[in-house]
């Protein structure tokens, strides 16, 4: 969708595993901006404590989560004056190696594309209501306490 500023925002939550490269290829192929910065995050196969992970449950606050993503994307894309933003974020049960988040920012120059991608990623990680519960191969479950350090 386009907001008032004319910046194209394509944001969605995904219940199922998705191919981030097929998505990027089709999205970026439509824009072909001079500069595109991308971040792709995948589920780790080990917890920070070193346990082997079997899966992860990604809980979110339906309604607020989508609204926050929209607001954060509008704010940062306007602040950096970029052309377009693509965001996909998994929810539900995720397997190690699956894509958790893909964020792409298209702009006329590399600086705004890169800075917007970084800033918006941090905003999503800290301001959008998602919670991760790790399920270890040994059968233990625990809620991840906040984010890994930058």
């Amino acid at each position: 969708m386009d907001n008032n500023s004319g910046i194209a925002l394509d944001l969605a939550l995904c219940q199922q595993d998705f191919d981030p490269h097929a998505l990027l290829s089709s999205w970026e192929g439509n824009h072909r901006s001079a500069a595109t910065a991308v971040f792709l995050g995948r589920m780790r196969d080990r917890s920070l404590a070193g346990e082997t992970l079997l899966a992860m449950e990604l809980e979110h606050y339906p309604g607020m989560c989508e609204a926050q993503l929209q607001e954060l994307a509008m704010h940062h894309s306007s602040a950096h004056a970029v052309d377009a933003v693509l965001l996909r974020h998994r929810v539900g049960r995720v397997q190690p190696g699956e894509a958790l988040v893909v964020l792409a920012v298209a702009a006329a120059r590399r600086g705004p594309a890169q800075r917007c991608c970084q800033d918006l990623l941090e905003a999503v990680k800290h301001q959008a209501p998602f919670w991760k519960r790790e399920i270890t191969a040994a059968g233990r479950c625990h809620w991840v306490q906040g984010n890994t350090p930058l």
Binding site: E59, G63, M64, V124, P129, W131, W143, V144, Q145, N147
Partner: protein
């Protein structure tokens, strides 16, 4: 009978939801009321809101002393871990 509008909805997520054993509760609105007052009344963990717990009212972040009004959706959010 109380009119249905004179209530608020309280939502818990993630670890908070598991600790409390419930996800959603409708409460009668005792004005004046704040998120902190609800936290105490619902015995969610002490007489102050832990600094790591954030409050949302009607799906937007809000301060713990914001006055609540009938029909509000109040949520307590444990530390976020998205991305």
């Amino acid at each position: 009978m109380q009119p249905p509008s004179a209530t608020i909805e309280v939502l818990l997520f993630a670890a908070l939801r598991e600790q409390a054993g419930w996800a959603r509760r409708r409460l009668p609105l005792k004005e004046p009321c704040t998120p902190l007052q609800c936290w105490k009344d619902l015995q969610l963990g002490g007489d102050t809101l832990p600094t790591e717990i954030r409050v949302a009212i009607n799906q937007r972040f809000a301060a713990a002393d914001t006055p609540l009004i009938a029909g509000d959706e109040l949520a307590f959010l444990p530390p976020i871990s998205g991305g």
